[in-house]
């Protein structure tokens, strides 16, 4: 893997910049840019399915399955709820994702504050318990929760899915908020205290606004984890509580309506918009600080 030998810092260290003549040999060009070329192909691999999802949301398939291109059509876009059951499952997924994000973000943020701001007996044990759910295969978590619910006789459905989703989102929230908290400059809070701010004032005016982006990122992450989960959900759901991923799974055998792709495309564009707006806000904030 060739290192970039023409980086400015190196050149300045070695006196006048050597003049590189552009080579006409395409093989030399490939050799020089091999890493960027490999990265380009990696991006193709990563983004190809998204492109297919978007493209096939405008398809009018011949049979029950939307795997082969036939003709351009806006039918599915005009009638998103046209496939039976699809919007019910979407509503259920959004509801569960919203509630589990809310709960997991609160629980996880509290844990993150305890871990970063306090020294207490049992810290490493706490860290281990936070880490474990992220290192456990979903099928093990899903099946163990099912065993619990079956053995103590809790009926499966909305509430069991919600319990499971809060459980696996908490760890990710803790890790995300913890990183943000750890990178905070403690002198900012000390300065507030020096200026006679009470502890509550310091928290709400200094600490919280600074940690907020981390909490926001954690909430977004929980939302997408919850909305996207199939394996754990499938173990803890009932036939009456079909989430959107369960609907998609079922459609792989029944026939895939084009509306699945429409919803996938909308989710994609929405998330890109949210991330874009977030970037703009942080950029304008940085500019305001200068």
């Amino acid at each position: 893997m060739a290192l970039d030998t023409s980086s400015p810092s190196r050149v300045s260290a070695k006196g006048p910049a050597p003049v590189y003549r552009k080579s006409r040999n395409p093989l030399v060009w490939v050799r020089e840019h091999i890493i960027s070329i490999m990265a380009f192909f990696a991006f193709c691999y990563l983004l190809l399915p998204n492109a297919v999802v978007i493209l096939f949301s405008f398809n009018k398939p011949n049979g029950r399955f939307n795997y082969q291109w036939s003709t351009f059509s806006l039918d599915a876009w005009k009638n998103i709820c046209g496939a039976p059951g699809i919007c019910e499952s979407l509503t259920l997924s959004l509801k569960i994702a919203f509630l589990s994000t809310l709960a997991a973000t609160i629980l996880g943020t509290m844990i993150a504050f305890a871990l970063i701001r306090h020294r207490f007996w049992g810290r490493s044990g706490t860290n281990l318990i936070i880490f474990l759910p992220m290192a456990t295969p979903e099928v093990v978590m899903g099946s163990s929760l099912l065993t619990l619910f079956v053995n103590i006789g809790i009926p499966l459905g909305f509430w069991t899915i919600l319990i499971a989703h809060i459980m696996f989102c908490v760890s990710f929230v803790v890790v995300t908020v913890k990183a943000r908290l750890a990178s905070l400059d403690p002198r900012l809070e000390q300065a507030a205290a020096d200026l006679y701010a009470t502890e509550a004032q310091t928290f709400w005016r200094i600490t919280f606004p600074l940690v907020a982006p981390g909490i926001g990122a954690a909430a977004l992450l929980s939302f997408s984890l919850s909305f996207d989960d199939y394996i754990i959900t499938n173990f803890n759901a009932s036939p009456a509580s079909v989430t959107f991923p369960m609907y998609v799974w079922g459609s792989a055998t029944r026939g895939t309506p084009v509306q699945i792709n429409v919803i996938g495309t909308i989710m994609f564009l929405l998330a890109v918009a949210i991330v874009g707006v977030g970037q703009l806000i942080s950029m304008s904030r940085r500019r305001a600080l200068k």
Binding site: M1, A2, L3, D4, S9, R10, A13, M38, A39, A42, F43, Y45, L48, P49, N50, V52, V53, Y67, L107, M110, I111, A114, L115, I116, R117, H118, N127, I129, P133, A135, T136, P137, V139, V140, S143, T147, L148, N151, I163, V170, V175, A179, A182, P186, T202, L221, F227, D228, N234, F244, V248, W249, A252, T256, I263, G264, M267, F268, V272, V275
Partner: protein, 310 residues
């Protein structure tokens, strides 16, 4: 995106809390902050694990109820019946992890060192696939890999299909419903989990170390081998774990892109729990999967830790 990048930091010992600023807070405060969240994890993560182990040692049936009989024979039966699926799951996960590392390393390297002001945009592109549901994207691979698609046509012209067929990686001249399709899907699905920790550790690399290497007449390849790669090891360890563990337990890819000949252990556990309703066997398989992953991860972290010191 910070979320995934920060997963990697878990490997490090946690920085000590800042010297207590202002007044000393109550000694109970941390426990009150921890209580609700930890209680949730205890009740719905740890307790279920105990139930799972207990279930695996019980005999009985769904209708008559179960009782703990310390039936270790369930484990012997379950493993002797399904060892093929176990081996297959770990083999697929291993190949997918290796492939993801080979693809993600240049990608993370390019983003960290060659992207300039496009860094943030490229990082968003790495997580962009997550914005569309996992299952929908995996279904999209059905379209991409189908017999008369572009990918298969090109690979056929290049003779790669024939090579794969000769190597017995694909049963006939189709990619879809073959082990190759399943591993392609697994690699794809967990690639961002590999890329982000790698990026996080490469990004922290001090460029002056490479300059020093160059000044001491190290070739670019030597610099990479002796400086860049060893310093990116924490990212490699985090990324491979974040790819291998979910890949070994995954069965979405093998269900949607594979065939009955690519069944992974997750599919067996799912079937035993939800269709066959043989809870003890399903629980025994689940416990075995968890135990083997814990052992593999412990050995791996131990080895990676010593390599880092060399």
């Amino acid at each position: 995106m910070s979320a995934f990048a920060t997963l990697e930091r878990m490997e490090e010992p946690h920085p000590a809390p800042p010297p207590s600023s202002g007044r000393q807070r109550g000694r109970l405060t941390p426990y009150l902050l921890l209580l609700p969240g930890m209680l949730w994890l205890a009740l719905f993560f740890l307790v279920p694990m105990v139930f799972l182990v207990s279930q695996s040692l019980q005999t009985g049936s769904v209708e008559d109820g179960y009782s703990v009989t310390w039936a270790f024979s369930t484990y012997a039966d379950a493993i002797s019946t399904y060892w093929v699926q176990f081996v297959r799951s770990f083999a697929y996960a291993f190949i997918a992890t290796a492939a993801a590392l080979l693809i993600a390393y240049p990608l993370a390297y390019a983003i960290a060192f060659k992207a300039g002001k496009w860094k943030n945009v490229l990082l968003v592109l790495v997580i962009a696939p997550f914005f569309t549901s996992f299952l929908i994207r995996t279904l999209a691979w059905q379209t991409i890999l189908q017999s008369d698609g572009i990918v298969v046509t090109v690979l056929d012209k290049l003779g790669i299909i024939q090579v794969l067929q000769w190597l017995q990686f694909i049963p006939n001249d189709q990619l879809i419903h073959s082990p190759v399709a399943v591993v392609t899907g697994l690699t794809y699905n967990f690639l961002p989990f590999m890329t982000l920790p790698l990026y996080a550790s490469l990004e922290r690399l001090d460029p002056r170390l490479l300059e020093a290497g160059g000044d001491l007449y190290a070739t670019p390849w030597t610099s990479f081998r002796k400086i860049t790669f060893p310093l990116s090891l924490p990212g490699v360890v985090a990324g491979t774990l974040l790819t291998f563990i979910p890949a070994a337990g995954d069965y979405i890819n093998s269900h949607l892109l594979g065939s009955t000949k690519t069944t992974m252990i997750g599919q067996v556990i799912d079937g035993q729990f939800l269709r066959v309703l043989n809870y003890p066997v399903a629980a025994a398989l689940s416990v075995t999967l968890m135990a083997s992953i814990v052992v593999l991860v412990a050995v791996y972290i131990g080895r990676a830790g010593t390599e880092e010191l060399v």
